[in-house]
């Protein structure tokens, strides 16, 4: 029987960790709403489970998304995750080949070098020794990179790296020590008994030349086992909880579980799946433009996890979604933040009772301009021209007595009041009996799609114009102007509309390609979601955004949102800002 007392810290740590994890996940999943739990039962034996396995390999081990953000950063994360994984898997295979049984105790593979007498060979033992040394070297390089990143984060494409707390630094040190200590323990044993390969064998001989290895080898194994045990015990209360939780999250996500309006066990799983890599800090414009450094998801989720006060941080977010788009774990950051905003408006029977019964003309197409478009009459006028040019039977439903779509209320956490406004709007839209609902405002568009239950097809005006052009109802000319496109947050990242506006713009102008195209666009700063920053800070964000687009020397900055247009026009003094509809109406 292969056993020594030093395996106890590791074994106890591992068993405690597994019991704790089972208990936690059971508790969280039990708190899901019933329909979400049903999805798990349905998804468990579907193709999605296999797909999740592939995603876990790609994201949790190889870190493919982080590679896309920055290759060095991706490489660092990969060496840790994939290296450790290989060390466990190859070690296990090695132990199974040696032991010729799958059922050896888990610690046997981990401390294989200690238990295996080096003079006893088994099939491919040299190859295994070589592989294990190679993987260990791979991990040691990863640790060197990680330590370098702490001090020179810019090398890894990060202007700032996450500020960790004392407890996190403790477990970080434990993690960093695990592999060098394993290296020492294996080297000492190899130095004494032989065995090992290019790394540990040579290192063992080297250490043996000046160290009393017979006194050091056994304690080194104790230290290695204790570090592993300590890491397992600290893991659930540190950011490394993300290692098991991210895998659970990937399964749940692929089975179709959705983050609703309420904060529940699913949100809890997502909060724990955050690895605090800090990529969100770098994409956040509040950081780059206003030097606000305590509200980014990495810190916000940590506050939620540690039950710290967070009402101020919850409000201080533009909800532009840049962090969500860059998050390698794919956490629903906006929805979680929104769930932390309090519902303050008291709803009574006559809340918004002043809204009149809808009186709208029936037509095939209903046009809902939205509150903000009423502040930018140019957009409305252009849309009317386009409708008339294309000879569309349309009805301008919110021309006189339109109300808000309800999303601004929802963004501030007031879902109950929002629901009343939404119901009234729904009534008005249905009264028009339209097949297509066209809106000029991406904020309205997003809520129509996600929160309303409309029979009509919902289209943003960019999609609608694209359709008119494609079907030949609208003829446009290519004008001799250079344009850049600022994709509004709620349209591109928020509603996945990327190609329609770009196609339209390419047909009416010369569109310059920028690094901010598609889902990488910048926020205009005018977002209604942030109530914590003042108008000066908003102007700063908007100014920086204009500067970024101006660097491409366009004739016009084009957007597709009345709020963005209004905000950017205030700071763009030299280059005009236009809505895509205005450009199309001119063409």
């Amino acid at each position: 029987m292969y056993y020594d007392h030093f395996v106890l810290p590791f074994t106890i740590g591992l068993i405690t960790l597994l019991i704790y994890l089972c208990f936690k996940y059971y508790k969280w999943i039990k708190s899901f709403p019933r329909e979400e739990r049903k999805k798990i039962r349905k998804g468990l034996f579907s193709l999605q489970t296999i797909r999740s396995g592939w995603e876990i390999f790609r994201e949790s081990l190889l870190h493919h998304k982080i590679f896309k953000t920055n290759p060095m950063l991706g490489y660092m994360h990969m060496t840790f995750a994939f290296g450790w994984f290989l060390l466990i898997v190859v070690g296990k295979i090695e132990s199974m080949v040696y032991h010729t049984s799958a059922f050896n105790p888990p610690y046997f593979a981990i401390f294989f070098r200690y238990f295996h007498p080096a003079n006893e060979t088994f099939p491919y033992s040299e190859t295994f020794a070589f592989l294990m040394d190679l993987i260990l070297l791979f991990l040691l390089i990863g640790i060197t990179l990680a330590i370098t990143k702490r001090f020179y984060s810019r090398l890894f494409g990060m202007k700032k790296t996450t500020k960790q707390r004392a407890y996190d630094l403790l477990i970080l040190t434990v993690l960093w020590l695990i592999f060098p200590v394993r290296f020492l323990a294996e080297s000492f044993t190899s130095g004494l008994n032989g065995g090992g390969s290019f790394l540990t064998y040579n290192a063992g001989n080297f250490f043996g030349s000046f160290l009393p290895l017979e006194h050091l080898s056994y304690p080194a194994w104790w230290v290695y086992s204790s570090l592993l045990g300590l890491f397992f015990l600290l893991l659930p209360f540190s950011r490394y909880m993300h290692i098991p939780t991210e895998m659970v999250y990937i399964f749940l996500k692929n089975w179709g579980v959705k983050q609703g309006r309420e904060y529940n066990g699913y949100s809890e799983i997502q909060v724990n799946a955050c690895s605090r890599c800090g990529i969100c800090i770098n994409t956040c414009q509040l950081n780059s433009s206003c030097d606000i450094n305590d509200i980014q998801p990495v810190y916000f989720l940590r506050r939620i996890r540690n039950h710290e006060p967070l009402s101020k941080q919850a409000e201080n977010c533009l909800m532009c979604g840049r962090c969500e788009a860059s998050c390698p774990v794919g956490i629903n950051l906006n929805a979680i933040r929104q769930s932390q905003r309090p519902d303050t408006i008291r709803v009574v029977k006559d809340t918004y009772a002043y809204v009149p019964e809808p009186e709208v003309k029936r037509a095939k197409v209903a046009y809902f301009a939205g509150c903000m478009s009423h502040l930018t009459p140019g957009i409305i006028k252009s849309m009317q021209q386009i409708f008339e040019k294309a000879k569309v039977d349309y009805s301008f439903i919110d021309e006189r007595a339109g109300i808000c779509c309800g999303r601004p209320l929802a963004l501030s956490g007031n879902w109950q009041a929002a629901q009343i406004v939404m119901d009234k709007n729904q009534e008005m839209i249905e009264a028009s009996n339209a097949d297509i609902l066209v809106t000029s405002c991406p904020i309205c568009y997003k809520t129509f799609k996600e929160d309303y239950t409309l029979k009509a097809q919902i289209m943003h005006h960019t999609e609608y114009i694209e359709m008119l052009i494609r079907e030949g109802q609208l003829k446009v000319n290519n004008m001799d102007v250079k344009t850049v496109f600022h994709n509004p947050c709620e349209l591109g990242r928020g509603s996945q509309i990327v190609h329609a506006p770009e196609n339209v713009l390419k047909q009416v102008s010369y569109k310059i390609t920028t690094v901010y195209d598609g889902k990488k666009s910048l926020c205009c700063g005018g977002s209604l979601a942030n109530t914590a920053i003042d108008s000066g800070q908003k102007t700063k964000i908007s100014g920086d955004t204009v500067k970024a687009y101006t660097a491409y020397h366009p004739d016009v900055i084009v957007t597709a949102c009345p709020l963005c247009k209004k905000t950017l026009s205030k700071t763009s003094t030299e280059i005009p800002v236009k809505d895509i509809a205005e450009l199309v109406a001119e063409a």
Binding site: P342, T344, I345, R346, V348, T351, Y352, Y354, V355, P356, C371, M372, H374, L375, A401, G402, I403, C404, G406, P408, L409, S412, N414, A417, V421, G526, L528, T531, D534, S535, G536, L563, K566, T567
Partner: protein
């Protein structure tokens, strides 16, 4: 009110600043300092979505709030849909939307205390 052949006696319309409850005024001045920049131009009210359909008047609400006439302000506030147009119109950069949200916050917390 008794009607004397087309004439009536108006209610006294005097504001007693000493008697009015200024708790909300002070709270808003602290949480939304930009509210002090208001010049009362009424642009916010002119563009207001709710004001288009009812007598809701943001300029008036903030004036009532500043005078400490909290009760009248409270009734008016329930009509706002928080669409944010007022904020974009404001020439002084007052965070009108935040001001309304904070007033609602204040009312909610104080109501809890009263209950």
């Amino acid at each position: 009110m008794i009607n004397f052949w087309g004439y009536s006696i108006s209610e006294t319309r005097s504001i007693n600043y000493d008697k009015n409850d200024k708790a909300m005024t002070e709270y808003i001045a602290a949480t939304v300092p930009s509210s002090k920049l208001c010049i009362g131009c009424g642009g916010c009210t002119a563009g207001c979505t709710a004001g288009n359909l009812t007598d809701f008047n943001i300029r008036k609400v903030q004036m009532l709030m500043k005078r400490g006439e909290t009760k009248d302000a409270k009734e008016q506030l329930q009509k706002c849909m928080l669409c944010g147009k007022c904020m974009l119109v404001c020439p002084r950069g007052v965070e009108t939307r935040k001001m309304i949200l904070e007033m609602l916050n204040f009312i909610k917390t104080n109501q809890k205390l009263e209950d």
